[in-house]
């Protein structure tokens, strides 16, 4: 009896701890989000009343995020970069999955480690190494052949390549995990029924993989959108949103329009993350 009470007390303390953890998790995000709706020029208490001005107002000093040209341009570049990174990394990730699940070749374990490695290289180092490499090529071409290759200088292409370099490890791992669960007899059956290789891939293998393809595309998009460290060294004049926001924070200080952007990004990334989880859990149910 005493033991049971002790257990109950322990469980109660344990639950409080977990609850406190989730409060800790939510606190800063709530703080960043709520001041987007405060009718004040500063993101601080006291609460001055509810407003949507920081999203939609079109005049200074309360210029809303949807009328702020620089922020909108940042959002636009972020979207372009994230879409490219997502498409590229899902394509290469799919190739990698087939390579490592189906292929047999010498030193496979070594190459598999190589595939994981980019994930454990600090983003800053990925950024500077690609910057140095691209600049070396550009300078060599310029000095020896007089070619001016603008795209090898910091700019959108380098940002995409820099993010792609480590995002591909994530997509490869997600798609590999799914492909490992594939029952190859399904393909055999289709071959026996006379289907061509391409048709089997299109009608059987890829549909099976699609939850992993969608989920990894979403994750790649999100990782690219929020990336800062790698991007910082590769960015040219087309700054994505995180860079624009950081710039604003350092130069202007915190203004509620940054809260509005934060709120917008948190809701957007939260919904996409939720979608990626739902897509992947549907597969579990249909399998069971």
């Amino acid at each position: 009896m005493i033991n049971q009470n002790k257990d109950r007390a322990f469980l109660w303390v344990y639950r409080t701890y977990v609850a406190a953890f989730f409060v800790f998790l939510a606190g800063p995000l709530l703080a960043a989000g709520m001041f987007a709706f405060n009718d004040s020029l500063f993101p601080a208490l006291p609460w001055q009343g509810f407003t949507l001005d920081w999203f939609f107002n079109d005049t200074e000093p309360k210029l809303g995020m949807f009328h702020d040209r620089r922020l909108l341009r940042g959002l636009y570049y972020s979207a372009i970069i994230a879409t490219s990174v997502s498409a590229l990394s899902v394509f290469v990730g799919t190739c990698n999955a087939f390579l490592f699940v189906r292929g047999s070749f010498p030193a496979k374990d070594f190459f598999y480690i190589l595939m994981i490695l980019p994930l454990v290289i600090p983003g800053v180092i990925l950024g500077i190494s690609i910057l140095v490499f691209a600049s070396n090529i550009a300078s060599a071409l310029e000095n020896n052949f007089g070619m001016e290759l603008e795209f090898l200088r910091p700019g959108i292409l380098l940002v995409v390549l820099g993010q792609f370099a480590f995002v591909t490890t994530i997509t490869s791992l997600v798609i590999t995990a799914r492909l490992k669960k594939f029952d190859e007899e399904m393909e055999e059956a289709a071959f026996n029924l006379g289907a061509s290789r391409a048709r089997v891939l299109r009608t059987i293998t890829l549909p099976f993989l699609s939850p992993a393809l969608i989920a990894s595309a979403i994750v790649a998009f999100l990782v690219s959108f929020e990336n800062f460290n790698t991007t910082l060294f590769l960015v040219g004049s087309e700054a994505p949103l995180t860079i624009t926001m950081y710039d604003r924070m350092v130069k202007v200080g915190s203004t509620p329009v940054l809260n509005a952007v934060s709120f917008f990004l948190m809701v957007g990334s939260g919904l996409l993350a939720l979608l990626s989880v739902v897509v992947q859990s549907d597969k579990a149910k249909s399998k069971a």
């Binding site: 800063p28 180092i125 690609i130 791992l173 993350a273």
Partner: protein
């Protein structure tokens, strides 16, 4: 014929992988090391030397910053494990089925919220005019506004906050796979809660623990925004030194040397961690 097709498709699959690893990872890192071994002796004239590394050794600020970054990163990793493990265990084993999915989702949804927004949230909470200071004044604990930002404690709290979900998610996945009967057997054989934790649960969760620790350590050591925004001008973080050399002073040779040192240092710590725990990269990071 069939064999040739197989070979051809293997080569075709290998191409994107090879391009990705060679062009975006291997060559840039080799280029970075070569650059770090160059010394500028006159405008546009360089010679190979260890000058940049010698300068690092001779200037205490540099290696102190690296040591500080390393030790704070280790501390943050340990804290994230200590705080995160009970939460992960609760989600995986204690909570009922519904609560479990709900809580896990609460961990997955904010996973990809950018460091920038997280740091911004902490700034709004901790600064002199922030929410914490305001609440403490309102309750009468503080007589006047107080600055909680720009000290090591703020940096550590912010870093733990930024990375802890990357500890919890792999832990939940690993502990979730554990059979409850193993824990019961431990109790039936007369073990108390602590023995069961030490002899059964922790060994079983080891791959998840190591995976979480590696990712968290790399993210922390390579982080840029959180130490700078929450620690202020004197945060002395090594990535800041790299940025300073590269962008502010335009001293790429020395920046490359710093980058290589950070990479070597973090790789050494990860390698030691893997050796001590008897795990490998593919048994840990690749699984999470």
């Amino acid at each position: 014929m069939q064999k040739d097709i197989k070979r051809l498709s293997l080569i075709l699959l290998f191409m994107p992988f090879a391009l990705w690893i060679v062009v975006l990872i291997a060559l840039p890192h080799v280029g970075m090391v070569i650059l770090s071994l160059q010394e500028k002796i006159a405008p546009r004239v360089y010679q190979y030397s260890l000058h940049n590394y010698i300068e690092f050794v001779n200037e205490p600020i540099y290696w102190n910053t690296l040591l500080r970054t390393g030790s704070i990163s280790l501390l943050v990793t340990v804290l994230a494990l200590l705080i995160g493990f009970p939460v992960a265990y609760y989600i995986a084993k204690i909570a009922g089925f519904r609560t479990r999915n709900g809580l896990f989702l609460l961990c997955l949804i904010p996973l990809w919220v950018s460091d920038l927004i997280r740091a911004f949230g902490w700034i709004l909470l901790l600064r002199e005019t922030g929410i914490v200071s305001g609440l403490l004044q309102w309750t009468g604990i503080l007589g006047s506004p107080m600055e909680f930002l720009y000290n090591d404690a703020a940096v550590i709290v912010g870093l733990v906050y930024t990375v802890i979900l990357f500890m919890i998610v792999p832990l939940v996945s690993t502990i979730d796979g554990m059979d409850n009967s193993m824990i019961e057997a431990g109790y039936n054989l007369g073990g108390n809660g602590f023995t069961v934790l030490r002899k059964i649960i922790i060994p079983y969760a080891m791959p998840g623990i190591v995976a979480g620790c590696i990712v968290v350590f790399m993210l922390t050591a390579g982080s840029y925004l959180t130490p700078i925004l929450l620690g202020g001008k004197n945060s002395s973080w090594f990535t800041e030194q790299i940025y300073d050399q590269f962008i502010t002073r335009y001293n790429w040779e020395s920046g490359a040397a710093f980058g290589f040192l950070l990479l070597a240092f973090t790789s050494l710590v990860v390698w030691l961690g893997l050796k001590l725990s008897g795990q490998s990269l593919s048994s840990t990071v690749a699984k999470s």
